[in-house]
């Protein structure tokens, strides 16, 4: 059903700032106890853009992603997605909104008692009317895409961290979402696998015109996938630049971030 409403394939991405923002954070504050994580965060992500969020660990990058799909509510401020305040809309609408979004969790977040195939098939079984044969074909295709063909029957507990993450990626991609959030897609992967995941993310964004937000530490990932890079520190964006300017930036925080990069 959702296929028909999906934007047509485009090779050109709209220049940032022109298109209406898909995600809009306005003055978002979030604390846990007395620990302030987000401190008045403002952030716009225009349609079709691939935004990379960098920042020291524990700074609130995952927390930021969670706000986008209403898994966390801001203490103050608004989070709008497709023009709707995620925390004001009715439950049904939120569920509908979530179905249009793919989310790769930091450790894959596979349901532990379902095997790999059933995990990847879960969004389709829940949210589509495809028959079993069609589901099987789609799942196998996505598993090939993440370089894990033929592991349908394995259980999540038997997989390595990197494999779980890639199965999680297959699951995030299976519904052809319009917005995909990737939480550290290449952490814990070997450089070759990491590179091919980067390629995959860039390809998906380019060929389908999908809006993406990628949290990563890796310069290699920034180079391949990013249109724009922000640096999150102490609850706010300290740097917000187009990719090439970011990579060339003399900003001391950017330098120290990119300098430490093993790649």
């Amino acid at each position: 059903m959702e296929e028909t409403t999906k934007p047509q394939a485009t090779t050109e991405r709209p220049a940032s700032g022109e298109a209406a923002p898909i995600i809009r954070f306005r003055g978002v504050h979030k604390s846990f106890g007395d620990k302030v994580i987000l401190d008045g965060l403002d952030l716009d992500v225009p349609e079709g853009q691939t935004l990379v969020i960098m920042g020291p660990s524990g700074t609130g990058k995952s927390v930021t992603l969670r706000h986008v799909i209403g898994l966390m509510q801001p203490d103050q401020g608004q989070v709008e997605v497709w023009g709707k305040d995620v925390n004001q809309i009715a439950r049904k609408e939120l569920v509908a909104l979530r179905k249009r979004i793919g989310y790769l969790f930091q450790d894959g977040a596979l349901i532990n008692w379902l095997n790999v195939g059933d995990n990847v098939a879960l969004p389709l079984r829940e949210n589509s009317k495809l028959d079993e044969a069609e589901i099987r074909e789609k799942v196998e295709h996505k598993l090939e895409l993440v370089h894990l063909p033929g592991i349908w029957d394995r259980m999540p507990g038997e997989l390595s961290g990197g494999m779980r993450k890639r199965v999680g990626l297959a699951r995030a991609l299976i519904t052809d979402a319009e917005l995909i959030l990737y939480d550290e897609p290449n952490a814990g992967l070997d450089p070759e696998m990491s590179g091919s995941i980067n390629q995959l993310i860039a390809e998906i964004a380019d060929t389908l015109g999908i809006t993406s937000v990628v949290v990563t530490h890796l310069q290699s990932c920034v180079r391949v996938v990013a249109d724009r890079v922000v640096l999150l520190e102490k609850g706010r964006l300290v740097v917000d630049l187009p990719r090439d300017e970011f990579l060339a930036s003399k900003h001391p925080r950017v330098r120290s971030f990119l300098g430490d990069d093993p790649d």
């Binding site: 898994l71 179905k99 977040a109 349901i111 829940e126 999680g168």
Partner: protein, 337 residues
């Protein structure tokens, strides 16, 4: 906000204001703060109704005298206030949670196909069938001990046969349901909290929600149903082996015959007693599932958090089971069940 260092007293008269949003309230309070910083005094007066409530919510209070109030007095009030607040908050949360469970249960009853029945079967097996040996062993011993303790007293009056009444009623009405529930709380309650807690910290619960699937439907409902189906059955079995424990003492210690013990039990224990025990066990099942799942879903803070949730689930559940049992025993007595 306030220009060139004013000194003096300013009053913001809001008596004409009918409504206000949080932003404006915050702004006004900021303004008062700014005034104070510059050595002036500012005060909001005349606010009524909702406006007043909102301002108070945002921390406005009548201007304090410049020297601070003695901290001990404020401390005491604040402590009492905070304690009451905390209790009300907890009660509110519990009411919210129960409300959610009821709403989810109604939804599940209206659309039973959305309940993952495969999981129910798997869970019923693990938390019902697999619990049989331990439940049987403990309840057998309970019947045995009860009869043994009573036998000394009853023998003195030559009323040995009454041990059948005593064991029968205690086990069927009270100890069978309660002991079984406590065992299941320790076994299944802990497992539920640990399973859901692990899913919580590994973001599996979030993943479900992201897919538009309710963790209540997918995780809580099957556990509820599994326990509601299995706990009464376990309790029936517990009643049986408890009676058996009494019977062993009756025959081997008190030299009663099987027939007389059996007849005495039948005359003492009626269908209503068994029914009362079963009603208890259904309510116990709900308490165990509700508390354990709540603790599991509220887990935060990694593996350590899972441990905390599990402990808390078992302790809280057992406390509430005993409390509920006392209340039910009292209610049943009033209604003659």
């Amino acid at each position: 906000m306030v220009e060139d260092g004013p000194v003096g007293h300013y009053e913001l008269d809001l008596s004409g204001v009918r409504g206000m949003d949080g932003g404006s309230a915050a702004l006004l309070i900021q303004l008062i703060g700014d005034l104070r910083e510059r050595g002036a005094e500012g005060e909001i007066v005349g606010a009524t109704g909702k406006v007043r409530g909102l301002l108070e919510l945002y921390g406005a209070h009548p201007p304090k005298p410049s020297d601070k109030a003695p901290p001990a007095r404020v401390g005491l009030f604040e402590q009492v206030g905070a304690a009451v607040d905390d209790l009300l908050g907890k009660l509110g949360e519990a009411a919210d949670y129960i409300g959610t469970l009821v709403a989810e249960a109604r939804l599940a009853i209206r659309t039973p196909r959305t309940v993952p029945w495969g999981n129910v079967v798997r869970l019923a097996e693990r938390h019902g069938a697999d619990a049989l040996p331990i439940v049987a062993a403990i309840n057998f011993l309970v019947g045995l001990i009860l009869a043994f303790q009573a036998s000394g007293q009853l023998e003195r009056f030559g009323a040995e046969i009454l041990v059948a009444d005593l064991v029968g009623l205690s086990v069927v009405r009270e100890l069978g349901p309660l002991m079984t529930a406590i065992i299941v709380a320790g076994r299944s309650g802990a497992a539920f909290a640990a399973e859901l807690g692990t899913m919580r910290v590994s973001e599996e619960v979030d993943a479900l929600r992201t897919l538009g699937m309710s963790p209540y439907r997918f995780l809580v409902a099957p556990r509820f149903i599994a326990l509601i189906l299995t706990l009464p059955l376990l309790t029936l079995m517990a009643d049986g082996v408890g009676l058996l424990g009494g019977l062993v003492v009756g025959i081997y210690v008190l030299d009663l015959t099987l027939i007389s013990y059996w007849n005495e039990t039948l005359s003492a224990v009626g269908g209503l007693d068994i029914l009362g025990g079963l009603i208890k066990s259904v309510l116990f099942a709900m308490v165990i599932a509700a508390i354990a799942c709540q603790r599991g879903l509220a887990t935060s803070g990694g593996a350590e958090g899972v441990g905390r949730s599990t402990t808390s689930a078992v302790v809280t559940t057992i406390f509430h089971l005993v409390l509920l049992d006392a209340a039910l025993t009292w209610v049943f007595r009033i209604y003659g069940i």
